[in-house]
Symmetry: C2
Subunit: 219 residues, 2 copies
């Protein structure tokens, strides 16, 4: 196996947002290849699978010092691991879900997250009827227990799957306890300090984009 | 009220994908303003609410012939309606959900969709235990009933909330029956004909983006 040590990622180098956005997709395809016991792959083979040009792939991966080698292709496991590191998947993330409805349960039960080190540490809801209910092996706690819980348990990511009217207050609560990352499914844009990162999943906006594209077909 | 007739949208004009992607967010904010009984708003007020520059707002909305008027601002209801038309929200969409698990149920129960004309026409699953179960007022049918159902019921959008190993087959089935739009939550990229539109919600990729941004905070 070639020695890649001199090609490790230079954190000081700015990588464009567009490239970063494509990394999770590379990571997914490389994971599929690993599951199929594929050791190495050329940029043209990867290109055919991903429906991206080979030149785009080479350009993207060159951002990280270039993991490929002429005539050899990419070492799948190495590339998967390195991209995983860039995405910080080589460390454990402890998550809490705020809102134990269907969406919260769907996320709690997705096995892929646990496999990648995203650990469900707690589930919270405002509805007394939900108290103590088992969600993916974790008992539902009441929202008013949240500050105490956070003071005793390290949490990296708060997932907001509650109705939008409670979401900002919930965000304020977890931020006050030092949580720095919010995965927001509520239909609003949260106001947060600069040192907190938010990733939004606005489902209704995704559906409207689909509706737009469907409408365009008929034009 | 000013006459906007000469400013209606020119469908022949190409609107950039970036602008289109922002429209659902404008639509959401304008809907909130309507709920607050706000009749009109200046680009600077809208800018402050949306955390987007006023110049960006003027540029974006100018793409549609410009709905604003100097010294008057934007007519909220008019703009909301016009953007709704561009997003094809002025027509009804009939949807089916394939996969009656937590995620399928979460989508089925989201009231906002129905309010915008997205009608749930059917819910399907492969698990016999789910047969006949009520999901948002619709009985769960078995997947093998799908072709018959599609031959008798017009469906615009198929929502794939099933495990990824069944998703391509399900997509092929609905496409064979003439469905032109797929909202895909399964963790794969579907292969579809050119005249079919797909909007992906890859939750694990969204979570990886959050993980990346969280990691960047600490660097």
């Amino acid at each position: 196996m070639p020695d890649f040590n001199e090609n490790t990622v230079d954190d000081g180098k700015a990588i464009s947002r567009a490239v970063i956005k494509r990394l999770p997709r590379y990571y997914r395809y490389l994971g599929d290849l690993l599951n199929e016991n594929v050791d190495r792959i050329s940029s043209s083979e990867l290109s055919a699978r991903m429906h991206v040009t080979a030149s785009q792939i080479r350009q993207d991966l060159n951002n990280f010092g270039g993991f490929g080698q002429q005539g050899y292709g990419y070492n799948v496991e190495y590339l998967h691991t390195e991209i995983g590191k860039i995405l910080c998947l080589n460390r454990e993330h402890r998550m809490i879900i705020l809102g134990a409805g269907n969406l919260g349960q769907a996320i709690a039960n997705y096995q892929g997250f646990k496999r990648r080190g995203f650990i469900l540490a707690g589930v919270f809801d405002v509805r007394p009827s939900q108290k103590g209910k088992d969600v993916a092996g974790v008992p539902v706690r009441m929202m008013d227990e949240l500050p105490d819980f956070l003071s005793q348990n390290p949490v990296d990511i708060a997932i907001l799957t509650m109705p939008e009217e409670h979401a900002q207050h919930a965000a304020d609560t977890v931020i006050a306890s030092g949580v720095k990352a919010i995965w927001n499914f509520a239909h609003l844009d949260l106001v947060v300090p600069r040192d907190v990162v938010v990733e939004n999943v606005h489902l209704s906006e995704s559906l409207m984009t689909l509706s737009y594209n469907l409408g365009k077909l008929g034009r």
